[in-house]
Amino acid sequence: MRELIEHLTPRYSLGAPVFQRPGLTFVDVKRDKLRALLLDLRDKHGFTHLVLLTAVDWLEEGRFQLTYLLNNRAADQTLGLRLYLDRANPMGDTIHDIWPTAATYQRELREMFGIAFPGSPRVDEEFILEGWTDMPPYRRDFDTLAYSQQTFVERGGRETHEPRATMKHKLYPEG
């Protein structure tokens, strides 16, 4: 794996690799090099299996991380490509023509993170949610508990007591 990364790094200006364990490596890529790199990996280096495509929201850093996880079955190697997108206007490049199944992932990312993938088939159709008008729910600034409390009714009549405060209150009422 190290040789492959060394070989690819200058060509696709990859970032510093993380060798998570034998058989699993993560490396940063640039958006303009992604497509060529994916094709190269698929066609020349045996990374024919797109394991998954997903995103991580680094809210504090103001960016989304797209993770393209590719697998080379013969060599038992998995390579994670990390691509960072600006969180304010997230726009990815569709790869459904390289792996048709990527269209599903991109549809999900569009719906759950609000990342646009222009050109991906049916990318704007509802996928999992129905009648959703709020912000994409997988974004970190979407608070699921707050949304739930503001939307659904809970069964009332429950009250809890914190041991520390209760004891303080009962044993030392004067404080």
Binding site: H49, V51, T67, T101, I128
Partner: protein, 392 residues
């Protein structure tokens, strides 16, 4: 023999690309929803079919009926609090969630799993595979008019659920594979009772073979139907038995051995026709392998040893920043967890890669056009998809 050719004289014209131009308002097409409330659907999902006569010209998979937002819920839970909810991601075979999550946490937190726990984990995973295949083969039988197979195999599955219950303390959601090991060792006399179940299973499988796999009707309806071109496997992310039915011996247990699979002796069954028949057969054969594996695991498992390592205080357990991907071979293909941590007490992101995600979406939509409406159910069942792992 008799031959029946439907009258297609009033069919709409075929467009220049060889496909129908679908316009519902011409009255030539009918939109038909298969699911979510439908006996011929694999769980709570639906396929929006556009039919022309009895031929399906377009199919769109609709999921999300079971969406609970697991990946979001996990981000608000501490690492131990995620443990009870992961298994709910896949109802019929929950244990892969537990294993993948536990292994991912262990890797990022630097925790060693005791040797015996690895064997018990493998045992649990194979028991889960056993159950899943039982449901799958029963389902294929049911979808093609052989409900009795479903009746038999559900009974056998229930016997295995009894073993699950005495080992893990629960029937469906076992919540047994904690990060750091497993909750307990085997109960007294477990091996003997397991052997009884396996023997019963083998008896019923012999009957199933006679009823289903040497059955003219079943053969007629499955051979050559629902063919997936093996050349498309990589494009559509086909893994597991669906790939093995097309001559590709993909199996994470062999390709990238985890737990104790490198110490077990087994072959991966492969079929070549890549149709419903091949997919059913490869599962049937794999189920036999699973039964053998269960026996091997129980025989080779160390009799003594710890099953759980002491964890740091889980109430404020923090894991350093990192990311990893853990996979295993479930009964439907590659099951994986992508876990990202950020140094806090909560996972930054968990992504579940369920094999049904690719099989039920892009692949199914690709396969449906051109099939007979009566075969859609069989096609879906043969892909062996579980909707909750698609939408999570």
């Amino acid at each position: 023999m008799f031959s029946f050719q439907p009258d297609r004289s009033q069919y709409p014209d075929i467009g220049p690309d060889g496909k129908f131009e679908i316009d519902l308002e011409t009255g030539k097409f009918l939109k038909l929803w298969q699911g979510p409330n439908h006996p011929g659907i694999t769980g709570n999902m639906s396929v929006e079919l556009t039919v022309n006569g009895d031929e399906v010209v377009e199919g769109k998979t609709h999921v999300g009926y079971l969406h609970r937002g697991f990946e979001k819920l996990m981000e608000r839970r501490t690492f131990i609090q995620v443990f009870p909810i992961v298994c709910r991601v896949c109802v019929p075979e929950p244990d892969f969630n537990e294993y993948c999550y536990a292994a991912a946490v262990e890797e990022l937190a630097g925790i060693e799993t005791p040797e015996k726990a690895k064997w018990i984990r493998a045992l649990i995973l194979e028991m889960g595979r056993f159950n899943s295949y039982m449901m799958s083969i029963g389902g294929i039988g049911g979808a093609l008019g052989n409900g009795i197979v479903g009746q038999w195999l559900t009974y056998v599955r229930d016997l295995m659920l009894d073993r699950f219950e005495e080992l893990t303390g629960a029937r469906i959601y076992h919540m047994f594979i904690l990060p750091g090991g497993v909750r307990a060792g085997l109960p007294e006399g477990f091996e003997g009772r397991m052997e009884e179940v396996l023997a019963t299973a083998e008896r019923y499988l012999d009957d199933t073979e006679k009823l289903l796999f040497t059955n003219a009707v079943f053969k007629k309806r499955t051979k050559g139907v629902g063919y997936i071109d093996p050349a498309l496997f990589e494009s559509y992310g086909v893994t597991g038995p669906n790939a093995r039915a097309g001559g590709v011996a993909k199996d994470v247990r062999k390709d990238s051995p985890y737990l104790v699979y490198d110490q077990l002796d087994f072959d991966v069954p492969v079929e070549h026709d890549s149709d419903i028949w091949a997919r059913a057969t490869v599962r049937y054969r794999d189920l036999r392998v699973t039964i053998d594996l269960l026996r091997q695991i129980l025989a080779k498992m160390p009799k003594t040893g710890e099953v759980m390592t002491s964890l740091p205080n889980v109430l404020h357990w923090k894991i350093p920043r990192g990311e990893t991907y853990i996979k295993g071979e479930s009964s439907r293909g590659e099951y994986g967890y992508y876990l990202v941590t950020d140094g806090s007490g909560y996972p930054r992101r968990v992504n579940v890669r369920g094999p049904s995600y690719t099989h039920a979406m892009a692949l199914l939509e690709h396969l449906i056009p051109g099939t007979n409406i009566a075969d859609v159910a069989a096609l879906m069942v043969s892909l062996h998809t579980y909707p909750p792992e698609i939408e999570r």
